[in-house]
């Protein structure tokens, strides 16, 4: 696999940075690829717009930041407005459809939608919306394997919430396996 650039974006507090960290760890430690995780840094990571970048590659990653990410995961309209215009042709965009309405100006970009926040609420805690989204991401893109992602998630979350997070991940993953791009 050549260099693949990913971006996760949303509001501070949604667990966007944690999501990026988990994907990077799953890819590098458990899938044995090279991965570099970078994050927006400063007041925006504590509220406001917030973004994480992950570069995954079979060979060492030189330039650490995503330049034109092929995969964009967005969980806020503000982030969508900011990053959707930079999508490359044939890119893949994953959205929480209750929170984001994409502009769809580039018709070659495939958009996959999930109610991640609503599903998290139904599981009992809205806070695991990012984990639902990670499951969805793994199911749709296959960039990170199911088992590696699950391991990385369970290592990153508090012990008492492991079942909740595992359910969140599996639900998102199942949904992702069946998902079709929006027409």
């Amino acid at each position: 696999m050549a260099r693949t650039e990913l971006r996760f974006a949303g509001f501070g507090g949604q667990g966007i940075l944690l999501a990026g960290y988990i994907v990077g760890k799953a890819a590098s430690i458990y899938d044995k690829k090279h991965a570099t995780f970078t994050q927006s840094y400063g007041p925006e990571s504590r509220g406001g717009a917030c973004a994480a970048g992950v570069v995954v590659s079979e060979t060492p990653v030189h330039y650490p930041h995503p330049v034109k990410p092929a995969v964009l995961v967005v969980m806020s309209q503000e982030a969508c407005v900011k990053f959707e215009p930079g999508m490359p042709d044939n890119g893949v965009m994953l959205i929480d459809e209750d929170l984001v309405t994409p502009q769809r100006m580039n018709k070659t970009v495939k958009v996959y939608a999930i109610h991640s926040t609503r599903m998290a609420e139904e599981l009992g805690r809205k806070i695991v919306a990012n984990i639902v989204m990670l499951g969805f991401f793994a199911g749709v893109t296959k960039i990170v394997s199911h088992d590696s992602m699950k391991t990385a998630i369970l290592e990153a979350v508090p012990a008492a919430t492991k079942d909740l997070n595992e359910n969140a991940f599996e639900q998102g993953y199942e949904y992702g396996l069946k998902a079709q791009p929006l027409p």
């Binding site: 430690i29 970078t38 994050q39 990653v61």
Partner: protein, 384 residues
Amino acid sequence: METESGVLTGEHFLSGNEAFGEGALAAGCRFFAGYPITPSTEVAEHMAERLPQVGGIFIQMEDELASMNALLGAAWAGQKAMTATSGPGFSLMMENLGLGVVTETPCVIVNVQRGGPSTGLPTLVGQADMMQAKWGSHGPYEIIALSPSSPQECFDFTVKAFNLAEQYRTPVLVMGDEVVGHMTERVVIPPADKIERTPRRTPRVPPEKYLPYEPDPDGVPQMALAGQGYKMHITGLTHDRRGYPVISEEAQADMIGRLVEKIRKNREKITEYEEESCEDADVIVCSYGISARTSQLAIENARAEGIKVGVFRLIVVWPFPESKIDELAGKTKGFVVPEINCGQISLEVERCAHGKAKTILVPHAGGGTHNPDNILEAIRRAAA
């Protein structure tokens, strides 16, 4: 797997700033004094969490002047000690860095460089403290500084820095930058028994025969620690080999001569770099830290255009690999030096090339990394 040695053996997904801390612990550091400052704060946070787990001490001091002094005190009490800072904090440490140099106190200072001068760009990258690392404290002296390009190197080079500090009895600087400090990658930490740790060079003579600044053959004196029963006078004033202040031209010549020569005479042993395809290169890109990574795309593109590009990456920046640059200058048309400042290491490259090859600086004022196109354009000019 955690061991009593404090070594977090295994594969981890760590930020550069966390890796600085783990490198220090692996090297045997058990004392950290600092004042949190962006973008180095995570080093202090990590040490605050980790040091108590291994029986070490973390102190948040009132400022960076005191932090640097606490480091020196801890070293004289026998500890391996580290601090981490950035920009304005590094400036504040300069006075007592000089005290560390003149009292020949082993310690490690991590500088996660941000945009400057002054408060500058707290959250954004810079590489403009490289000459400050060399000359930041007043007076004539030599220093050792390293520059990591990845979290793995933040770990490895911090271990190296502690060992160099002990071997040459000097403060050693690890010149990171905001991008490397904040990026997270795989860091492989070896088993504790595979990590080289240079011990303190304590006296091999009884107290009555001990001269605190009488050097060993390599120019480095033995260091008695508080509580070992040796009498010491530790001063920032120029001192003789007994450690007593002597305000004279002769004492200065003797002391400075030794301080400078212990680094210069061992230059070939201390310097370290990575070279790739330099032997028959039209152009050599010489860089360090994050700029060594951002250069790679430009290098690949230039090679695709048929330009033979060599890569020379500094690992130890100070002392500078003078003879190596001189040798390469005889074989290449030019050096391209991308750095996030307005010309610092490029000046050293130019000086050491002795006019045999041109040196082209690719400057950047700070706040971001180079556009690879600017580096590519400089490579083309150098090859022309």
